[in-house]
């Protein structure tokens, strides 16, 4: 059992007192970074690189590299824990991967179950973190090879499956959900097309060349939409502030969350391994899956704990899964892992096929420290839940300005342009109008994420095959995804057509 021996060696690195301290500092900063919208894991890690370089300057290179990557990775997965907090409490997603958590998490907070939502998010994140680490230890090698097999055709079909499942995010009307989906896809076409290099719908405005920023739209629709709703409908005092009944989840909550956490962890891990997918997609897929598997799908969007437990587990597992292509292939699957890779290169440590041979103490030290870091996060987060949950009791007249300020700071910190602030305001008003008329905003946001990915991968695949569409069905993995996507859409329709009641309970 070489793996066990290497892992134990890793623990001897990770358990050195200074590395424990680095992991602790990393996860604390990460939690703060996750809670504050705008300072996402990416900018958080980037800003800390010079700090860690100074802190470790006296050490030998390899030890310095291990220590600083332990701290920086701590920021990365710490942010995944913290990202849920503002989603749940203020309907303001801190990270794009926590957008979907706002759907049910905010509803739970409104019902006085903020404590349960926050703790289940922490517990789910912890379990998912451990699951993905075990996966990382045992499956790194075979999975990295499978991930490479994922070409444009496979990505296209996987994303199409995600889009086919979008009806799962619908509220009362599927038609309205589809309208929102198409609108999201249309917004996604703005910017310089990555395949042909042609500028689309930019009207020669350089600010539109890069497309619309996903986080701006999401924060505008969710957070500011909610603010406008509260102000315009003048219900500042109308609804009594929900009393927090208890901080810890009930036994029933835990029971309801067990399966979503398990499914979310596995799903998130596998999606995280794919370099082109990422944590945002993992959380969306998990939410849709939970709704599909639920005995009671109508309760989603109204404060179902599974809608928090699943996605929060999934995004944390995805950040663990993303370590596989980074460490074994040197291929960063997201912006944040790209920056982690840059940090390693600074120490002359090149992540890639030779990392585990050339620098085992860095690779295994990092993995071992992630076990410790996840445990620290759980211990750290449970008492914080009590503190955070109190935020919800702040009177609206204080809370609303704070939400507005956080949204503006957050968006500006990511984009550095005033254009995005106007866009944020516009999206806020738009979000209010949508929710007033029962148009669900989640399908729009999902389509905005998936649209460009679907389009780019479809066109890459077609370029490779010289325009031959059969590439999507001749590749086995792609074919499987397409069949599931078609079944997902058609089976309910056929059942309805046959006059039978749609069977939603497909579990076991």
């Amino acid at each position: 059992m070489d793996t066990i021996k290497f892992l134990l060696d890793g623990f001897t690195v990770a358990l050195q007192w200074h590395n424990l301290l680095f992991a602790l500092v990393g996860v604390i900063i990460g939690t703060a970074v996750g809670v504050l919208p705008g300072i996402g894991p990416m900018s958080g890690v980037a800003l800390l690189i010079p700090v860690t370089a100074t802190l470790t300057s006296g050490m030998p290179t390899d030890a310095a590299a291990a220590s600083s990557i332990i701290l920086l990775a701590g920021v990365y997965y710490g942010a995944m824990y913290g990202g849920s907090t503002t989603s749940i409490l203020l309907n303001t997603p801190g990270e794009s991967s926590s957008v979907v958590t706002a759907l049910d998490g905010y509803q739970m907070a409104q019902q006085g179950r903020a404590g349960a939502a926050l703790s289940i998010a922490a517990i789910g994140s912890f379990i998912a973190g451990i699951v993905s680490l075990i996966g990382l230890v045992l499956l790194a090698e075979p999975l990295s090879n499978i991930a490479l097999e994922f070409g444009p055709a496979e990505y296209f079909s996987l994303m199409l499956l995600g889009l086919a499942a979008v009806s799962g995010l619908a509220g009362k009307s599927v038609t309205k959900a589809l309208i929102m989906t198409v609108f999201g896809l249309m917004l996604g076409t703005i910017g310089i097309d990555a395949v042909s290099g042609i500028a689309r719908f930019t009207y020669d405005l350089p600010v539109l060349y890069g497309g619309l920023e996903f986080l701006t739209i999401a924060v505008g629709l969710f957070a500011l939409g909610e603010v406008f709703k509260t102000i315009l409908e003048n219900d500042t005092d109308a609804e009594p502030i929900a009393k927090i009944k208890r901080i810890l989840p009930t036994k029933q909550d835990l029971k309801d969350s067990a399966k979503p956490i398990t499914r979310g962890s596995l799903l998130g891990f596998f999606i995280g391994v794919l370099p082109g997918a990422g944590a945002t997609l993992a959380s969306f897929f998990s939410y849709i899956t939970e709704k599909k598997f639920s005995k009671n799908p109508d309760s989603f969007g109204k404060g179902n704990i599974a809608g928090v437990a699943g996605p929060e587990s999934a995004n944390n597992a995805a950040s663990g899964g993303a370590m596989i292509p980074l460490l074994t292939l040197g291929i960063p699957g997201s912006g944040t892992t790209a920056i982690l890779m840059g940090a390693l290169i600074m120490y002359n440590v090149q992540p890639g096929p030779l990392l585990f041979d050339d620098h085992p103490e860095i690779a295994w030290g990092l993995i071992a420290s992630m076990f410790i870091g996840n445990l620290v996060l759980l211990i750290l987060n449970m008492p914080l839940v009590k503190v955070f949950a109190k935020i919800i009791q702040t009177p609206k007249k204080y809370l609303l300005p704070i939400i507005i300020a956080i949204s503006f700071f957050g968006v500006y910190a990511v984009q550095y342009t005033t254009f995005d602030l106007y866009l944020l305001l516009a999206c806020g008003l738009f979000g209010y109008l949508l929710s007033k008329n029962d148009y669900p905003v989640a399908p729009l946001v999902l389509a905005l994420v998936l649209g460009p990915m679907i389009e780019n991968n479809m066109r890459r695949a077609l370029t490779i095959s010289n325009g031959d569409w059969s590439i999507f069905v001749t590749k086995p993995l792609s074919l499987v995804f397409l069949i599931i996507a078609i079944a997902w859409v058609l089976i309910p329709v056929i059942l309805k057509f046959m006059g039978r009641k749609v069977i939603v309970n497909e579990e076991e």
Partner: protein, 340 residues
């Protein structure tokens, strides 16, 4: 009571953040005027991208070394102004900030490419700035998988010439941008119509390497500095590099385009620019300081740490070099029908 404390805490936090923003803008405002003893106030180096990219790292390295070595006593801060692949800030820099002696910019070949290409065009180019110095260089590399049937560039180019649809070239950036140009450059020099070369763009060099290793691309164009590790592990073969002389290290056995009889070269440089109407005083100050900095051991160590190659060109050489490179890129974009 607790509630009040919480609100108080948040208010304090917000006002600190506000104050931080405020001081930043006043700095920019005050720095417009020029005077006899430059520099009088703090200096900003803008990286026209998000944190963590090549421009950002270059800007931060310069800021760090300048203050560590005490060459520049005023504080240098790095600002990230993302948008449109640098085009958004470029427009501002060439117009609103054209007289601002206290704002420099880190940039690389896209300053030429964006100004020349038809789509996603930036109306402002290097001529709307004052080039100060080139600081680093990298080169493009043509890479195939280790088990690829092509063992040298000529075999590959012959295969493309015979049937362009049979081979897929991939890169980490959009068509008409750096990776694409590096990839079609040897084909163009070999007499192949570059429009015929099938190019698939991925989101960043990492994804392009993944596509190559997974068999979804036959050949990729990427940065020479990023590929060494895969050569050592035996996963890929590098067929040629775009430099004028052989590289050292892992790629020392790889021929250049020139050696293979192709009249082509491409340097991925990074440099520092000043505003168009920079005062002579400020220009003098920065060209001197930058040439001094490039000679320090601290700067060389910083280059080493980032895996960058040292190449210093002073303002005059750099401007001439930019002119030359602009002609190369312009010709290539015309051949691709992507010129404005």
């Amino acid at each position: 009571m607790k509630k009040k404390l919480l609100i108080l805490g948040m208010t304090v936090m917000l006002s600190i953040m506000l104050a931080a923003c405020n001081s930043n803008t006043s700095e920019t405002g005050a720095s417009g005027e020029s005077s006899s003893n430059y520099p009088e106030s703090n200096i900003i180096i803008v990286a026209p991208s998000g944190a963590g990219g090549g421009w950002d790292l270059t800007a931060r390295s310069v800021a760090k070394i300048m203050s560590e070595t005490g060459l520049v006593e005023k504080a240098i801060t790095v600002e990230n102004r993302a948008g449109g692949g640098g085009a958004v800030f470029m427009a501002e820099y060439a117009t609103k900030e054209a007289d601002n002696d206290y704002m420099l910019m880190a940039k690389s070949p896209p300053i030429l490419i964006n100004n020349l290409k038809a789509e996603g065009n930036s109306p402002y180019g290097y001529k709307d700035t004052k080039p100060l110095a080139q600081l680093t260089r990298d080169y493009g590399a043509i890479v195939v998988k280790a088990d690829s049937p092509y063992n040298n560039l000529t075999e590959l180019l012959d295969a493309i010439k015979a049937d362009p649809s049979s081979l897929t070239l991939a890169g980490g950036s959009a068509p008409g941008s750096m990776d694409h140009l590096v990839g079609v450059l040897p084909a163009y020099a070999y007499g192949i119509d570059p429009k015929q070369v099938k190019y698939v763009s991925y989101d960043g060099g990492g994804e392009a390497i993944a596509a190559l290793l997974g068999g979804n691309a036959d050949v990729i164009a990427t940065d020479a500095s990023a590929i060494g590790e895969y050569v050592k592990s035996g996963d890929v073969k590098v067929l040629a590099v775009s430099s004028t002389e052989r590289l050292t290290g892992a790629l020392e056995d790889v021929p250049t385009f020139k050696e293979l009889g192709l009249d082509a070269e491409f340097t991925i440089w990074r440099g520092l620019f000043g505003p168009k109407n920079m005062s002579d005083e400020a220009f003098e100050y920065w060209t001197t300081k930058l040439s001094e900095m490039a000679e320090t051991d601290e700067w060389k160590a910083e280059l080493e740490r980032n895996g960058w190659q040292h190449e210093y060109r002073n303002a005059e050489e750099f401007t001439a070099f930019l002119e030359e490179q602009e002609a190369v890129i312009s010709e290539l974009l015309k051949a691709l029908d992507m010129h404005k």
